[in-house]
Subunit: 189 residues, 2 copies
Amino acid sequence: MTDFFELLKTRRSIRQFQDKEVSLETIQEIIEECCLAPSAANRQPWKFIVIQNQDFIKQISDESKKNILAYIEQNPGSPSKQYEMAMRNPDFNVFYNAPSLVFIIGPKDAANLYVDCTLAACYFMFCASARGLGTCWVGLGTSLLDPELLDRMGVPEDHKIVAPIILGHPKGIPGIPERMKPDIIKIIP
Amino acid sequence: MTDFFELLKTRRSIRQFQDKEVSLETIQEIIEECCLAPSAANRQPWKFIVIQNQDFIKQISDESKKNILAYIEQNPGSPSKQYEMAMRNPDFNVFYNAPSLVFIIGPKDAANLYVDCTLAACYFMFCASARGLGTCWVGLGTSLLDPELLDRMGVPEDHKIVAPIILGHPKGIPGIPERMKPDIIKIIP
């Protein structure tokens, strides 16, 4: 038994991982479960790419860092500026050296692509956490432009990456980042 | 105890409700819990509107139907065409006569508005389901244009509706709409 309300309160974004693989079988199970997410008109536009090769994950991280730095140079006033130092650090891996990286992608022209793939991603993160695994949605991991790299990753040209999720055995469970009081702007009884 | 894996398998989109209110206190608890969702840079751009007035929900449904019909007339080849008959039926309520309707909205200029609000919506639906309540994300409920109605709803001009979610006590739990086999397009070991 995994109590949902316990899971709700203890699930965290994890950025530090044990030096221990997650089996492909487990990842496939989690992917199968996350396809239970609802989607607009039950269209299920989500597709998955699983990467467990550390060298390749590093290459994707490097491509992401290059593009984010170029963006910061062109937009020095953007909030991405806060990432500049990390992006210039050759040792920093945007995927936090996680043993596994899963991309949830879908057709660019799917009507509710972001919503549907985010629902699947949310399910993915709960299903991983319910197994004691840790995940983090790495937004920086969507900044990929190199067509040759995208091709090696298996991203079709007419598809878009929605959710890059890292996955591994957590080194520890960090405290909860502070939440604001819920902003209920109107109640109409 | 609410077993997560049981919840995962039994949560459904619910479109038939008992004639029984959900207390505002329960809705506020669910909203508080759904704010435990992760968000980009922990920015939590989500805000909430709770509507429990049946006449007002009907007015919002009517505005939605009017706009969807206008869209279908201008775009007769669009997939929305499938909704035309329902939209022309004066008895059809896009919110399925649910006792409660919650809108998750956020600032139009928030960088990850759709992803962040969808994560909160996913949490909301799990938290409701874990209490034996039923929800359905009603995409048609975003088709609202009338500034006067939006003002009465409490939607600020610079905000956008991401998730209209109906909530109530389910009349029954329908079977699972068929899922496709997960499409893992590439595994890089």
